[in-house]
């Protein structure tokens, strides 16, 4: 039987096992345990921990370490990730690899301490200035978060891109039984600085953005084609398909099970990568589907945009209506999702697109 462990601690230990050698960050609830854990743990394994003066400094320290081809990590939440956007944009521009964990909390500005998914747009669109995306991984459980840690770095390094692990406040704070992965000793990358100018990099004023744009698009296309991850069930005969990720995704799976038992033809897609968005899953949906429903923990509905666009792309001959069930914060209950479906069927909830 696996040991009970708190989400943030488990993720931090998984990072150590994935070979992280530098953590730099600044405290913010509900992510802080990640840095607290690593302040003790990283020195034990010969790594470096820096309590930075700000999130801005933290991500720039990560950039320095990443430039040396070393696995580096930072974690934060809402307002802290806002401050990190400058660095994330620069790391993306320099095509360096790192992982950023966003333990999402609800709200604009200072926000609140409630668990939520309100940073969906920011994380999946890039977030900072410029033309770039980050690979975004959205675990539904502590075990899945832990299991995704090493792949998060593998993806970041394969494509030389930032991988965002987007978890939620509740996932960081709850405890579950969890099996820890084995230790990895990552190899140093040839493009990492060694002081010898062995990786020849050109100066910023010698760059050709036109050629770089072609390469960037090619990279994004490859990621979209190769790296979509999701879980699905019941799509073949579904009249309604729910789409939800993270903890709401896990809850929706329970709702689908109960609704099926009650005779409703429903299915679900749980994106594990929200960028690239799992478009391939939508190709498995019954072509006579009546509607597609996003269930999400924010106020305005954000995931719904990708859901609506993707169904438009995959079922081209008609306009499949898409509905949104935003629960604002927390985790939508099974009851919330079931009632939502009934309201959609009765016409009480109108389509969003």
């Amino acid at each position: 039987m696996a040991d009970m462990i708190k989400g943030n601690n488990a993720i931090a230990e998984a990072a150590v096992r994935a070979g992280v050698k530098l953590y730099a960050g600044y405290p913010i609830t509900p992510s802080t345990e990640i840095m607290e854990y690593l302040s003790k743990r990283l020195p034990e394994v010969g790594g470096s921990f820096v309590q930075a003066e700000s999130e801005l400094a933290g991500i720039n320290m990560v950039m320095g370490a990443a430039a040396c081809g070393v696995r580096a990590l930072t974690a934060s939440s809402g307002p802290g990730i806002s401050l990190k956007q400058e660095g994330i944009s620069c790391i993306s521009d320099e095509e360096l690899a790192c992982v950023v964990i966003n333990v999402v909390r609800y709200g604009n500005g200072l926000g609140t301490l409630y668990s939520a998914q309100c940073d969906y747009h920011r994380e999946t669109r890039g977030g900072g200035n410029g033309d770039y995306r980050c690979i975004v991984l959205c675990p539904e459980s502590i075990q899945e978060a832990v299991d995704l840690m090493a792949p998060a770095y593998d993806l970041a390094e394969k494509y030389r891109i930032v991988t965002v692990m987007m978890t939620e406040g509740a996932l960081g704070q709850m405890m579950e039984p969890c099996e820890m992965p084995d230790f990895i000793e990552p190899k140093k990358h040839p493009w990492g600085f060694d002081g010898k100018y062995s990786y020849k990099k050109i100066g910023i004023f010698d760059r050709n953005s036109m050629t770089e744009a072609v390469a960037l698009n090619k990279k994004h296309e490859t990621i979209k084609a190769e790296e979509q991850r999701w879980e699905e069930d019941g799509l073949e005969d579904a009249e309604y398909v729910f789409v939800a990720f993270g903890l709401p995704g896990r809850s929706v799976k329970g709702a689908v099970k109960q609704l099926r038992a009650e005779g409703h033809k429903v299915g679900f897609i749980r994106p594990i990568t929200t960028w690239p968005f799992p478009e391939k899953a939508f190709e498995n949906i019954n072509k006579d589907v009546k509607g597609i429903i996003s269930v999400e923990a924010n106020a305005t509905g954000q995931l719904i945009d990708d859901v609506a666009l993707t169904i438009k792309k995959t079922i081209k001959d008609r306009n499949v209506p898409s509905y949104c069930l935003p629960c604002v914060y927390g985790i939508p209950t099974i009851k919330f999702t079931k009632e939502g479906l009934h309201k959609i069927i009765s016409g009480e909830i109108k389509e969003a697109y």
């Binding site: 720039n60 320095g64 040396c68 600085f193 002081g195 010898k196 100018y197 100066g203 910023i204």
Partner: protein
């Protein structure tokens, strides 16, 4: 025939500084010091935004162009994972002392083991000569058109003095590029800073009073004169924190 002085190997292409700019002299000094210390194949630069970034095209070394103000944080990350490399954060005064004052102070505060070299030309050079935190009282810039009024803007910042008096840093000094004598002294400071780092003594900062003839709207010669006559009385040259070894 007299033998020409050898250009350090890591200086490759011409850098596009304005005629009479001080950056070029400092780059040359750093390159000479690195060569003399056997570090020119063991060096990573965290380059600031501004005219500092022009180094990028001219030095054949590992270098990262850092976001404006953050070079000291980037250098911290580099040094922490690669302690055997010599790390230099190379920044303008606007970069190091205005937008990046938090990152700069905190690196000194933690006594991070790298060397920060800041080019103090009393303005934001690359963006066309706006006021920075080292602009002199009364100095006309594009954002202090009537001359800097310290009553409303605060007084010019003296970072090496601050680092030396408030933090446990290894070495802090200020030099200038106005005469062969000053240049030779500056080279000693740079070498001292790098040696402090190589020996693991901790943070070193060398500020350089450097002309920006373009934005000061002066001839290169008059710009040098301005440093000698106006800047040095306010920004004294010398060592503010001696290395323990010396």
């Amino acid at each position: 025939m007299a033998k020409a002085r050898k250009v350090p190997a890591i200086i490759d292409n011409p850098m596009s500084f304005c005629p009479g700019c001080g950056h070029g002299i400092v780059v040359r000094l750093i390159a000479e010091c690195l060569e003399e210390l056997g570090q020119d194949q063991n060096i990573i630069f965290a380059l600031g935004v501004g005219c500092s970034s022009l180094l990028g095209g001219g030095l054949v070394i590992d270098r990262l162009h850092c976001p404006h103000g953050r070079a000291s944080a980037v250098a911290t990350g580099m040094k922490r994972v690669q302690p055997e490399n010599t790390i230099v954060a190379y920044q303008g005064d606007g970069d190091a002392y205005s937008i990046g004052i938090a990152e700069t102070i905190n690196a000194a505060y933690r006594n991070e083991n790298f060397t920060m070299i800041s080019i103090n030309n009393t303005n934001y050079g690359m963006t066309g000569g706006q006021m920075s935190w080292t602009t002199m009282p009364g100095q006309v810039t594009t954002t202090s058109p009537l001359g800097r009024d310290c009553e409303v803007t605060g007084n010019p910042l003296k970072f090496p003095e601050l680092a030396a008096s408030q933090f446990d840093v290894a070495f802090a000094a200020r030099g200038a590029v106005t005469s062969p004598k000053n240049i030779n002294k500056l080279k000693k400071y740079i070498k001292n800073g790098l040696e402090a780092q190589i020996n693991g003594e901790g943070y070193s900062v060398i500020e350089v009073l450097s002309p920006c003839p373009t934005n000061w709207k002066m001839t290169p010669l008059n710009a040098m004169k301005r440093i000698d006559e106006e800047l040095i009385p306010y920004y004294p040259l010398g060592v503010f924190k001696e290395r323990k070894e010396n």
